[in-house]
Symmetry: C2
Subunit: 333 residues, 2 copies
């Protein structure tokens, strides 16, 4: 387990989206965040207090969490300076980056010398089985999206929070580094070996009480050519009883793929449902979650109403309007 | 790249099926095989000359390829003796076994001392990129199946051989350990980290001459819940211009999944094509390959005719009838 509370490292994030890991932790476990650490040129801001390492230490922070993504990149020397100093100041480090803290010789050496811990949450700590496709007890919901980074994790976390508030049995199941950093548990699916992807999701969502819901964080999109295989493994390993569709309406192309347009919600509904029915013929699409962060209040309301009308499914932005109506829609399953 | 030509190690294979990797190499790249090496009690015979290590060395063999499955997942002491001697004689070793040569302390030590190479083709030797989805020059065909082990590799190898015989520019692109041992190169896709699956296939099938075809070996099935994610990564990373459907008509359930029926060829056609069009809107399904090994001649002929009629696509068993008609069908792409 990662020691809390955290100081959130935003580095030199080029925009807010690049710091979505830190944003997720701040939104869902604000009590775990004492402040943020930003480098010159950082374009992200969580609205937390900017702190030096010494200030954060004095405020009780135990772990410096790298809350910013670097797409297939390297840990720059600018970052290194802060990370090494943090270890020297007595912080543990936690990261979901592809390139591991433990593989950086300087960080590994300083961590060893100082007795601090390097948490690479992206690395599976379990040898997962190959999926067997057998029916499991309990119920499962999976968030599927038109694109990457459209709000699948938020939707799942919001539904889980709402369900537990209503006294329902629910567990948020993390499948990515942010979710794992938030909950301290989960499957780092994008780092799992191909043959074991679906099996890792079966492992994550085992037999449970008949009235218990696993609310599974989605990844990627069936229509995102870089990551679609991961999404299909989630659909087949998760064996969902219910799907919630996730979309961000102002996106002009698939994330990271300038030549690719977003699919329609109808296309995602039909394709994801057809694939889900291979593993669970009773699966249903129960609602739509819209990420309206780039829309005004009226625009957001009108857009959701329009989608609700055309798809015949409850449609909300759970961040703006609450997840209540999506949770109520589970009654049909 | 594995150095050719090979001496094929059949060990103490209990039957011909146990040596199917060696059989595949001999069938598809006979020019790479100088002979076979068999232990006492070996029940497999490729019809190649039996050779000692010294004889094979004299005949020019560079690599001893383990072409047989091991019993109980253990590299026995009987095998070890030959493998160690081979290293001492100046052979490299190549293997697709689950348990890696490099993890055997004696083999690793002798390889190091002799300067010979241990090729574990199950393990990626390259750090693959994340897929970028960019259009590449040249043409690509991908074999997609109703199930695992229905003849996708065979179909791709047969088409590649037929195309080269006709003077077309073609390269078989291996995505599994047998294919890699046959050609000496490829991507062991089921061992690739999830995020890099599609990227590994982009890497495998780079820009090429406009009239060159990559004939990509398929894996799994979109309808096999254990491995479907691997299949979708092939479809999106491969960016195929053409798909060939593969099927084994006597299969009663999905391989390894007793509760799962096989999809129809129509379902595979529609789903695979819809997914392929995300990456390449011009993709076409060009034909159907039936594995008729469990059917009589008349039955096989009638079945293929029936599929050809109902799907409106050329349909053959390339092993029985040749791959000519599938290759001719590429003209429409």
């Amino acid at each position: 387990m990662i020691e809390t509370p955290y100081l959130l490292f935003l580095g030199d994030a080029p925009d807010g989206l690049a710091a979505k890991v830190a944003q997720g932790i701040k939104d869902w476990r604000p009590e775990n965040c004492v402040g943020q650490f930003r480098l010159d040129g950082c374009k992200a801001d969580l609205g937390l207090q900017d702190m030096t390492l010494a200030e954060a230490k004095a405020a009780g922070a135990k772990t410096l969490v790298i809350g910013v993504a670097n797409r297939g990149g390297v840990i720059s020397q600018t970052w290194k300076k802060v990370l090494v100093e943090a270890l020297e100041e007595g912080f543990d480090l936690a990261s979901g980056l592809h390139n591991l803290l433990r593989n950086e010789e300087d960080l590994a050496a300083v961590a060893k010398a100082t007795g601090q811990t390097l948490h690479d949450v992206r690395i599976p700590s379990v040898q997962y089985p190959i999926a067997n496709g057998e029916k499991r007890t309990g119920k499962r919901l999976l968030a599927v999206g038109t694109d990457c980074s459209v709000g699948k994790m938020y939707t799942a976390l919001a539904m889980d929070a709402c369900m537990r508030e209503k006294g329902m049995k629910s567990t948020f199941r993390a499948t990515g580094q942010t979710g794992i950093l938030i909950t301290g548990d989960g499957v780092p699916l994008d780092a799992v070996i191909a043959d074991f992807m679906a099996g890792s999701i079966e492992y994550l969502t085992p037999d449970n009480d008949a009235d218990h819901w696993d609310i599974i964080e989605g990844q990627g999109s069936l229509f995102h050519v870089s990551y679609s295989g991961v999404t299909l493994a989630l659909i087949h390993g998760g064996q969902p009883d219910a799907l919630v569709l996730c979309h961000e309406p102002t996106r002009t192309h698939m994330r990271g793929l300038p030549g690719y347009k977003l699919p329609t919600l109808e296309a995602v509904r039909d394709t994801a449902l057809a694939m889900a029915k291979v593993g669970n013929p009773d699966c249903k699409v129960i609602g739509v979650s819209i990420n309206t962060q780039h829309m005004g209040d009226e625009e957001a309301k009108a857009y959701c109403a329009e989608v609700e009308e055309s798809l015949g499914l409850p449609c909300v932005d759970p961040f703006r309007h609450g997840a209540e109506r999506l949770v109520e829609a589970l009654a049909v399953v």
